[in-house]
């Protein structure tokens, strides 16, 4: 699947190799970014940035890892950097004195209380999972339930993917059992 890309890279035909890379991996990179950032627009912008980085780094690819492994590593690291940047920004903004008290007044914050009993859909349940579990679950269903794809995209061993998925589902069932659920889970 990657031989043609590798051949073009070996021949220093970077533009051609890049075109093949984008055509073949743009949807996967986008879905990986979506599973990490949870926002389609941000994921698309991130996918653009990822491929731009890949373009700049392409002459430095020496073939030690497969092209897809190399690409997914750049994608994951770029997303993680963005998440850290966001977390830092959020911390700073929530520390502003004028925001104290305002956060508690937001209705969404109140209904997300575990004991409130407010209606909750599957996305809200997924939002309550730890990041590492939520990414695995999301990507598993985005990638047509392929453990191997999830393992390659997230850079996790296959056994870890299976364990995370099982734990995530158990956690979802636990969350569901504590509150009124959508019809499908009732």
């Amino acid at each position: 699947m990657e031989d043609d890309i590798r051949e073009r890279l070996a021949a220093q035909q970077y533009r051609e190799a890049f075109e093949l890379l984008v055509e073949r991996f743009k949807d996967k990179v986008f879905r990986l970014a979506f599973s990490m950032l949870r926002d389609p627009a941000a994921a698309e912008d991130m996918a653009q940035d990822i491929f731009l980085k890949v373009w700049k780094a392409l002459p430095g690819y020496h073939g030690a890892a497969s092209v897809s492994t190399w690409l997914y590593t750049i994608a994951r690291n770029t997303c993680l950097t963005e998440l850290k940047r966001r977390a830092a920004r959020l911390t700073v903004s929530l520390q502003a004195p004028e925001l104290e008290g305002a956060v508690d007044a937001i209705p969404a914050m109140q209904t997300s209380d575990p004991e409130s009993g407010a209606g909750m859909d599957t996305h809200a349940m997924l939002d309550r999972l730890p990041d590492k579990y939520r990414r695995v679950v999301t990507l598993f269903y985005l990638e047509q339930k392929s453990y191997e794809e999830v393992s390659a995209m997230l850079g996790l061993p296959l056994g870890t993917v299976k364990t995370f998925l099982f734990r995530a589902k158990k956690e979802l069932l636990r969350i569901a059992s504590r509150r009124p659920m959508t019809a499908a889970l009732a």
Binding site: V22, E23, F34, F51, T122, K162
Partner: protein, 180 residues
């Protein structure tokens, strides 16, 4: 509450991930265990709900075109790589040149050391030879009958030269060696 030892197997069974032997064991267990059957049913419902809810958003149709525009605005990858290589080579040449200059400077300093030591010793030796008759007056009376006072002074000066030259050479070698 499902049997803990069967939970993961039940989940794998639902996904069709179990080999034949284990699959039959799980199926036999499910026939006799109400809790595990309920657990399997809940897992199946959850799976169906996740299939329904987790949908991949669509990438914009102009994604590749926009990316191409951004790429075209960048210097070509190969140019960037050559630029990086050129920068690396220039840096290496600069560092090598700097090291060469440092070696030369310190070698020159060592030569100056030797010359200065030599001049100093030559001055001292000349003064000793010129003033040898007067210096001999300070010798004890029983030593004044030596065969040739000038020979003695020359031997002493020669020994001092030898010692000083050895020290200078040793210092020079140590200094230059540390920079090479």
């Amino acid at each position: 509450m499902a049997c803990p030892e069967f939970e993961m197997s039940v989940a794998a069974w639902l996904e069709g991930q179990l080999p034949a032997g284990e699959r039959e064991a799980v199926e036999r267990h499910l026939i006799g265990c109400v809790e595990c059957r309920a657990f399997a049913e809940a897992f199946r419902h959850l799976d169906a709900e996740l299939v329904r809810a987790v949908k991949a958003p669509k990438l914009s149709a102009d994604f590749a075109a926009r990316l191409r525009q951004r790429i075209d605005a960048e210097p070509p990858a190969v140019v960037a790589a050559r630029r990086a290589e050129l920068k690396r080579r220039l840096q290496a040449e600069y560092e090598a040149g700097l090291a060469r200059m440092q070696r030369r400077f310190h070698s020159f300093g060592a030569v100056l050391d030797v010359l200065a030591s030599g001049c100093l010793l030559a001055g001292a030796a000349t003064a000793a030879v010129v003033n040898a008759p007067r210096l001999l007056q300070f010798l004890p009376a029983n030593l004044r009958g030596l065969p040739d006072p000038t020979l003695v002074v020359s031997a002493v000066v020669g020994a001092v030269f030898l010692l000083a030259g050895g020290i200078a050479a040793w210092r020079t070698r140590g200094r230059v060696g540390s920079w090479v």
